[in-house]
């Protein structure tokens, strides 16, 4: 059992958890994730290890409630326990030095990007970051990203904060005004695809972290398979980071819709049962 030590909402749908995981904490590297299960009947989902404190034996996760499992996780409080957390999984990010790097984060992807940005910055690279969100209240981790970057640019789709527009607009400007060696982009698939398009035109090496559907996270099911450079790769063990210019984003976008009907049913049931709980009614386990 993995006990929750701290919980804090960063936005209406995104929360940060600090969880006891004494074996994982000392082993976490930027780019790693865990697979967790929220309940005995729960599914296994991947969540990035944003931070860790080996001394305290804790890890930090930042989770956005989008479906049944993540919404259920957001109902957990300090003192509750998560039954299963396994990791660290995935290949850690190779941390280069002496480069000029742009880190682009969108939505909860910013949380996944933060540990990488920190490590790149700590290794002495020049790091410019771009963080985008749909609107001001969805922006997360602004201060943390600012602290880990030489310069931080904010964008919102509706212009309610920072520059109005998409992260790609800001990225295009940066690529023309400065010499950039590598771009890291993590966020929704359409965003990563758009970034990849921009940097491909500009000829700048780009790394993305792929949110494939996963089950085991150890290379055992092939459910997380993605096409990279025309080859089949398993995101959990060969990734999750890949050369953006080789990724077949369209295939992944389609594959991630595999269970959209199932997910809708699942969320609906969860929200109904939760409404009951809120009213204090008895709910069958």
């Amino acid at each position: 059992m993995f006990k929750i030590r701290e919980k804090e909402f960063l936005s209406p749908t995104i929360a940060r958890f600090v969880i006891e995981a004494p074996f994982i904490a000392p082993k976490r590297k930027p780019g790693n994730f865990v697979i967790l299960r929220v309940s005995e009947r729960g599914e296994r989902i991947p969540i990035t290890l944003v931070d860790s404190d080996p001394g305290a034996g804790t890890v930090t996760l930042i989770v956005q409630g989008i479906g049944k499992t993540t919404k259920e996780l957001l109902t957990k409080n300090v003192g509750d326990a998560i039954p299963d957390v396994v990791g660290p999984l995935g290949k850690p990010t190779p941390i280069h030095t002496n480069e000029t790097i742009v880190c682009v984060g969108g939505g909860v992807g910013t949380a996944e990007l933060l540990p990488i940005t920190r490590a790149l910055h700590a290794a002495g690279n020049i790091v410019y970051s771009i963080v985008g969100a749909r609107s001001r209240d969805l922006i997360i981790l602004e201060q943390e990203m600012a602290a880990a970057s030489d310069e931080l640019f904010m964008t919102t789709d509706d212009g309610s904060y920072g520059r109005k527009g998409f992260v790609t607009d800001q990225l295009r400007d940066l690529l023309t005004s400065r010499k950039v060696d590598t771009v890291y982009a993590i966020g929704p698939l359409p965003m990563m695809k758009a970034v990849s398009g921009v940097t491909k035109d500009a000829g700048v090496k780009t790394v993305v972290s792929l949110n494939a559907l996963m089950v085991d996270g150890t290379g055992m099911c092939g459910g997380c398979r993605v096409s990279v450079g025309g080859k089949m790769r398993f995101a959990c063990v060969d990734g999750p980071e890949f050369n953006a210019h080789e990724v077949d984003f369209d295939e992944l976008i389609i594959r991630n819709r595999s269970y959209s009907e199932h997910e809708r049913e699942s969320v609906q049931r969860f929200e109904e049962s939760h409404a009951c709980q809120a009213r204090g009614a008895e709910v069958a386990p």
Binding site: K27, D216, T218, M220, F234, V237, I254, S258
Partner: protein, 491 residues
């Protein structure tokens, strides 16, 4: 030699082989309850009595772990069923499992003397019977172990290989910890083999027996990531390690259309259903897609399990697509037979060419080609060759590929100096030793895919070698298996 029963051999030969009751084929194709119901006490006694108590019990040579079959059958003849299972457990710590899943027809029962002229003694079903008998009546007593030893041994992977090695070492007095990556214990026995062949309760019971020996099992622990082999030795204080991480990484045919929605590896499909209980969705959270028409590609146990599971999830038509003929199918006879009874349609000598989708990128068909058998290939099996112009489209909404597996990659990629061969198979010597001192390996990891009982055999061999190694005979257990031969792989 004293015989345990009064019947003359000629009389025993007249007794017909007992037939285990089975759930009705139509009914069972809609549920996940066990298909074979096992022997009644009367049937078991009668079947055991058929054994000729051969002076030279050849049956034992057919069993990879040399279960003393004659002795356990003799104990059955005098109705000492608990004694019989204790006898089996001396060489096989998981009898309730092996009695259910061993390919007996190619092993112990294949060589049974009775089988020369008549049907062989139903050794597997009897093994299952005594194990179930003991468990239902609560007669299990843990075998007396050796005195406690100070050394700690780590077992990586809780499949049949790891569990067996753990049980053997615990009985020798070692402090044993099993590390398992998943949240549940059992390896393929848990996530691969379905409940209708191996009920969860049986598996839990056998794992409980291993724990009864004092073995500690840590789930949610990926060796290589949560701790490396070096850390297990240097920081955690383990003196020796056994790797039984299996060959779970699925191969794909690499034909067009594998990125469509509705294409699964058999591993993913079975894991969703068995480990994650997708059959109960939305009461459980893991979904699985099942079309009205399902095609499963392959001819092994994995393919049989996937195709029979499809029926149970509600597929109206389940096809088994195999490019060779029925005689080449590696699956257990019983499973092929059960699949046929349940209404699986076999498309033999048929090879998939590509998977076809609709505008939403969901599977809608699979183009196949007919094959005929040509000259024997290097494996001695006749090679299938395509018949030109025989292409046709099978209308399906789900495609499940069961076309082979290779070793789970994580330990190999995180352990410097661990010698591996083709597809990441860990190379081992005669005593299951690897190229790393104090590290042993076996089961599917070193065989590249085999059977439960061979995985168990390796676990036993390794346990004996680890004991030798820890008793100071380190040089006896050679390091760097330059002479290692790849053990036979199953296709």
């Amino acid at each position: 030699m004293s015989t345990a029963n009064a019947l003359k051999p000629s009389q025993r030969m007249k007794i017909p082989r007992a037939k285990s009751a089975e759930q009705d084929a139509h009914e069972r194709a809609c549920n996940f309850l066990e298909v074979a119901l096992g022997f009644s006490v009367e049937q078991a006694l009668s079947e055991a009595t058929r054994c000729l108590e051969c002076k030279d019990p050849v049956c034992m040579t057919g069993c990879p772990v040399n279960v003393d079959i004659r002795s356990f059958l003799q104990l059955m003849m005098v109705e000492d069923y608990a004694g019989a299972v204790r006898k089996i457990r001396e060489s096989n710590y998981l009898p309730a499992i092996c009695g259910r899943v061993c390919p007996q027809e190619t092993q112990c029962e294949a060589v049974c003397t009775m089988g020369k002229k008549h049907e062989p003694v139903a050794i597997g079903k009897l093994e299952r019977f005594v194990a179930d008998y003991e468990s239902l009546r609560g007669l299990f007593v843990p075998p007396a172990g050796a005195p406690q030893r100070a050394e700690k041994v780590a077992i990586v992977g809780s499949g049949p290989s790891g569990l067996t090695c753990a049980a053997e070492l615990a009985q020798k007095g070692y402090q044993v910890t099993v590390f398992e990556a998943l949240h549940e214990v059992g390896g393929v026995l848990r996530y691969g083999i379905p409940e209708f062949r191996l009920p969860r309760t049986v598996l839990d019971m056998e794992i409980g027996r291993v724990k009864d020996l004092g073995v500690e099992i840590l789930t949610n622990f990926v060796v290589g990531m949560t701790a490396t082999l070096d850390e297990l030795m240097d920081t955690w204080g383990f003196s020796a390690i056994y790797l039984g991480t299996g060959a779970g990484s699925p191969s794909f045919m690499e034909i067009p259309g594998e990125g469509l929605i509705g294409v699964y590896s058999a591993n993913e499909f079975l894991t969703r259903v068995n480990l994650m209980r997708a059959y109960a969705f939305p009461d459980t959270d893991t979904p699985v897609r099942i079309g009205k028409h399902v095609a499963v590609i392959g001819g092994g146990n994995t393919a049989m399990d996937a195709v029979r599971t499809s029926l149970r999830l509600g597929a109206e038509k389940a096809y088994l697509v195999y490019r060779r003929s029925r005689t080449e199918m590696p699956a257990r006879d019983e499973e092929i037979h059960h699949a046929e009874e349940e209404g699986v349609e076999f498309l033999l000598l048929t090879n998939p060419l590509r998977i076809l989708g609709n505008e939403k990128h969901e599977v809608r068909g699979m183009e196949c080609q007919r094959m005929e058998l040509g000259e024997p290939d290097s494996s001695g099996r006749r090679k299938p060759v395509p018949i030109p112009g025989s292409e046709f489209v099978l209308e399906v909404e789900t495609v499940i590929e069961a076309v082979g597996q290779s070793p789970n990659p994580i330990v190999q990629s995180t352990t410097p100096g661990l010698k591996t061969g083709r597809k990441g198979v860990v190379e081992v010597g005669e005593k299951q030793e690897t190229s790393r001192r104090g590290v042993f390996a076996g089961g599917d990891l070193s065989r590249g895919g085999a059977t439960v009982i061979l995985a168990m055999k390796d676990g036993k061999t390794a346990a004996a070698a680890i004991d030798e190694y820890l008793n100071g005979k380190r040089d006896l257990v050679v390091v760097a298996p330059e002479t290692a031969v790849p053990q036979t792989a199953r296709s």
